[in-house]
């Protein structure tokens, strides 16, 4: 009989959907007799009870305070809940908010901690979780010997959001007193930079040395245009004056900060270039050299001629 506790989150009064993924993760290691409670801090916490009443949720703890993100308050709430309930497991999404509060809460509780967890299970009754290491090149199984409580932050977009419904008990909790050191002042939306905006682009088609000659560059500008992508390039292309420096991705250049899809054609993938794009979730590498280092960070690889692929690709847009 153990208690599992999920810390849900909201931002500006909207439930963070990753909270539902955290519920799924916790439910995966819930054993017979365990209870699963979900806590939410908000100005109107009752408003979230419906969305949080997913299958397997036994209790929703509503903490009426503020919609502002205050790490000090969340940590105090976790301390109070842990003190009263001694949960075996506390789970929250590995979002930017958790980056602020989870490690601080873990040291105050002197509990086990693993962040950015991709999988969790029991091995001979012991909790074992998996996370990545060495820039995603390895996986690591970690355990928590001697820890009564373990706090986990769960990688987002790995677990399905919890669905189904339940009729959980709803507990109202008075917010704990906390020394609040931060004040919310407002929001800033991503800048809508005019002209060439590598850092704001969600879809980048990038070309490297493989393009060979200035006269070939135009074809890729045209392809990027028809696909709705922003054209980027590696350093040698900008150094040659074939494309403006504003299009250069990499250490000497721009960071593809908002990019979701990055297609690298004829880019070998130097360390300098990777600096600007290796974090992108969906990287497609097109290169004649199957051993080009760009393939080591790509999700999809095409061993082939960038011109042939580009010509063929034009037929689809």
């Amino acid at each position: 009989m153990a208690e599992l506790l999920v810390i849900a989150g909201q931002r500006g009064g909207e439930l963070l959907m990753s909270s539902l993924e955290a519920i799924t993760a916790a439910r995966g290691v819930k054993q017979a007799g365990d209870t699963l409670a979900v806590a939410i801090i908000a100005a109107d916490p009752q408003a979230y009870v419906g969305a949080l009443s997913a299958e397997g949720v036994d209790e929703v703890i509503a903490i009426k305070a503020t919609d502002d993100f205050q790490p000090d308050l969340i940590e105090a709430a976790i301390m109070a809940l842990a003190g009263a309930r001694k949960p075996a497991l506390i789970v929250t999404a590995h979002g930017v908010d958790a980056w602020s509060f989870a490690p601080a809460a873990a040291v105050k509780l002197d509990c086990g901690l693993a962040t950015d967890v991709q999988a969790l299970r029991r091995e001979d009754g012991e909790l074992v979780v998996t996370r990545a290491g060495y820039a995603e090149k390895v996986l690591v199984d970690v355990d928590f010997p001697g820890k009564q409580t373990v706090l986990l932050t769960i990688r987002t977009n790995v677990f399905q959001p919890a669905s189904g419904s339940s009729a959980p008990k709803v507990t109202e909790m008075v917010p704990p007193t906390a020394d609040i050191a931060t004040t919310h002042e407002g929001w800033k939306s991503p800048a809508d930079a005019g002209g060439i905006d590598i850092s704001g682009a969600e879809f980048i088609l990038s070309i490297g040395r493989g393009v060979g000659d200035e006269s070939n560059v135009e074809q890729f500008l045209q392809l990027a245009g028809s696909m709705g992508a922003t054209l980027g390039c590696s350093r040698p292309i900008a150094d040659s004056g074939w494309l403006p420096k504003a299009r250069q991705v990499g250490q000497s250049g721009q960071l593809a900060a908002s990019c979701k899809l990055y297609i690298a054609m004829g880019v070998s993938g130097s360390v300098q270039h990777q600096w600007g794009m290796k974090h992108v979730e969906n990287i497609v590498a097109v290169n004649t050299d199957p051993e080009a280092s760009i393939f080591s960070i790509a999700r999809y690889g095409i061993v082939g001629d960038m011109f042939e692929i580009a010509e063929e690709l034009e037929n689809h847009f």
Partner: protein
């Protein structure tokens, strides 16, 4: 006025590597080591504050690591920081962010800085733990993933922006002293000049042990233990094969799916 910047030496793995015989790490021949990418930004932020104060601020770089980590420490010093502290003990061989934060907390007690910076995460394990765990030990105000900072040397509050999911930023004020973890792109990190690199070799670096800090091995126990390490099943790119026409057709599908076209 003093700013402490905690940095880390990170390891980059070769494309091909072998797991150590005990199955809990990679063999040490397969690594390249360097200063954590995020730390270039946190060191730069400290230097900008120092320079804005007309140099009237001390920037102290601290690192937990063996002799090898000296390179990363000197790389940070070469950018103009004043001095360094390196802490090592064999008991720290399996230290995680929590254990390192415990050591850093002792250093903060000794040095009494007005502000502490760390990188938002490390480029190798990406735990994003050390800085905020340090704040937890100290009971200091803290904010993670800081993408913009308005702070004058010695001020009682700072205004910052946290970078959230989807490029949205939250503006907040925070009481100082504080621990802030610094995001990539907050500034344009400088490159150390050749002169700076030469000077860094002469800069004072305190080498401390756990004893020196009054810590026992038990006090720096990690909050988790590595059971095993292994290469993921799908570590490499999924290859799209076929003729160019087939490959492009599949790529077009992927693009349309991911772009919702």
């Amino acid at each position: 006025m003093k700013i402490m910047v905690a940095v880390k030496q990170v390891a980059f793995l070769d494309d091909e590597f072998e797991i150590r015989d005990d199955g809990r790490d990679v063999g040490e021949d397969f690594f390249e080591k360097d200063l954590n990418e995020f730390d270039h930004f946190s060191v730069e932020q400290a230097m900008l504050i120092k320079e804005a104060a007309g140099g009237d601020a001390e920037v102290v770089i601290v690192i937990v690591g063996d002799e090898d980590a000296d390179d990363a420490l000197r790389t940070a010093l070469a950018k103009g920081a004043d001095r360094g502290i390196r802490v090592w003990d064999d008991a720290l061989a399996e230290a995680d962010g929590i254990a390192v934060a415990k050591v850093l907390a002792k250093l903060v007690e000794r040095e009494k800085p007005d502000m502490v910076f760390t990188g938002a995460q490390s480029a190798d394990f990406g735990s994003a733990v050390t800085g905020m765990a340090l704040a937890g030990f100290l009971g200091w105000p803290h904010a993670a993933v800081v993408s913009n900072l308005d702070y004058a040397s010695g001020a009682r509050t700072a205004t910052l922006r946290r970078e959230l999911e989807g490029g949205l930023e939250e503006i907040m004020t925070i009481r100082c002293p504080a621990v802030l973890s610094i995001q990539l792109g907050i500034n344009q990190p400088r490159y150390a000049s050749l002169r700076g690199i030469k000077q860094a070799k002469q800069k004072p670096v305190d080498e401390l042990s756990l004893d020196d800090l009054g810590l026992s091995a038990a006090e720096v126990a990690p909050a988790s233990r590595v059971r095993r390490m292994y290469a993921p099943e799908r570590g490499k790119a999924e290859l799209i094969t076929g003729s160019a026409a087939e490959q492009a057709a599949r790529l077009a599908e992927i693009i349309k799916e991911l772009r919702g076209m």
